[in-house]
Symmetry: C2
Subunit: 282 residues, 2 copies
């Protein structure tokens, strides 16, 4: 038993870092796309890094996974067909499948090794991988959305790494055009949109590209996420038309458990702090 040491992620674009006290490295694999490492921490359960960037910890991933799924699904009137691009740790898939109305949820992550690592080191996130409504694909999400049948989807969730490396192509007009085409008229695109404090430009740019692809209305919801830079994160929802009023009664009466998400939290996250609203021109 060696003494715990500290492992840091220096996040260069923000000039800030997050770190964890770790006891040992549990696993490491160099996949065709990236290096995946798993560490055991003293207080946060297991920790996954991809190319040195913190992806998730056992302790706090519920914040991200709940906020990437439930706001979009409770905003849509009747979400049945869902596609998750990325999301290889399967945590978003698990949340999506808590909605009994969902008929099918496809998870398309380019890197099978992320899911294999999640099955080993975050098994609780993979609870629903064998749900008959789930389909796990290990393929290029850009190509998948390009080939998706027009008007076939209710929700597309882009649960990716930062816009560098394999995920870069998930943040531009061409990809959003594929999403636009594949979504039904009342469909919703939702994407992780980084820190509202230090990466406001990225949110603006993302919305700009979505707009060029045809999306009309946007909603950015902030939420706490300690393992990501600044500890404050966001998702951005986009629609072809219509607003973001959500099914508040259904959310309040939901028959499944969540730790962070609630109708009240959803309502609270729907109003941006003044400095974020001003930067986004709202």
């Amino acid at each position: 038993m060696t003494a715990p040491t500290w492992k840091y992620e220096n996040f260069e674009p923000a000039g800030s870092a997050i770190g964890y006290r770790i006891t040992r490295k549990l696993d490491e694999v160099q996949s065709d796309f990236q290096k995946i490492e798993i560490y055991e921490t003293t207080d946060w359960g297991n920790l996954m890094l991809i190319d040195g960037a913190v992806m998730l910890t056992t302790r706090d991933n519920f914040l991200y996974h709940e906020m990437m799924s439930h706001p979009a699904l409770f905003t849509h009137a009747d979400p049945r067909q869902v596609v998750i691009i990325g999301g290889g740790d399967c945590g978003t898939l698990r949340e999506v499948l808590k909605h009994p109305g969902v008929a099918k949820a496809v998870q398309c992550d380019i890197d099978e090794q992320v899911t294999r690592m999640a099955e080993k080191h975050f098994p609780e996130l993979c609870d629903s991988n064998h749900d008959p409504r789930a389909e796990l694909l290990f393929d290029d999400g850009i190509a998948y959305m390009k080939n998706a049948a027009p008007g076939s989807l209710d929700i597309v969730i882009v649960d990716s790494t930062d816009p560098v490396g394999p995920a870069e192509g998930l943040f531009n007009k061409a990809f959003y055009e594929s999403c636009f085409r594949a979504l039904k008229d009342d469909g919703i695109l939702v994407q992780q949109s980084e820190s509202p404090l230090v990466l406001l430009d990225l949110i603006k740019e993302m919305r700009g590209e979505m707009r060029k692809a045809g999306f009309i209305t946007f909603k950015t919801l902030p939420f706490p996420q300690p393992c990501y830079p600044t500890g404050w994160w966001s998702c951005t929802l986009a629609r072809k038309s219509g607003g973001f009023d959500f099914r508040q009664q259904d959310a309040a009466a939901k028959m499944f458990n969540t730790k962070y998400y609630s109708a009240d939290i959803h309502r609270g996250a729907s109003t941006l702090p003044p400095f974020v609203a001003a930067a986004l021109g709202e």
Copy 2:
């Protein structure tokens, strides 16, 4: 010009760390109570550490200072007499004095050097130090509250460091009894209450001590604060009686600027996430 380096705070109780990319040390003083250091960062303006713990950065301190003051002041019907215990950087004082109805705001920090460092390196926080309604004392906050005239105060804000070292005595029944006695019947005590993710036990313990001192009702408001452990922080309000409905119309119509606080943000923060509510028995 040396190359930037990284400076980390390892937060032992949570097993997590926060760091900044720094260009140089601007200042350092060993006061009678603690070591205060100021660094220049590449992206966060100036950074103050006390005994190695991050106190504030130029870029993100508005979150904490606004949330330590405006929710309490807009909850009270007519706050006139305010005392800040700690708060030596003067940022909370500045926010309090934005309320035109405040007749007097006393800031009592034990360490004059904190204020001297703030004046030099965070001058924007000291904008209101010469407001005729402001009184800056450098004295023991515990003694100050013990000697405060009974029923003389509307708001007491405990803006302190963590409950170790000089601030330890600000988290127990004896201190809260002094606050209880000094507050009017409709007064409000507000205290920074650490991270709702990893320090829930501290919030529970704090409420327990406040209750023993006579406080009846409590409200914990979470907010983002990137420079503190987990990036997610909270303040806890306590009253002798009555609830925490706030002056929503006044907050919405306020004549001063805030970057994070708004009536909507206040309303949103008033509902705790399910896992926090459950832990606090709400």
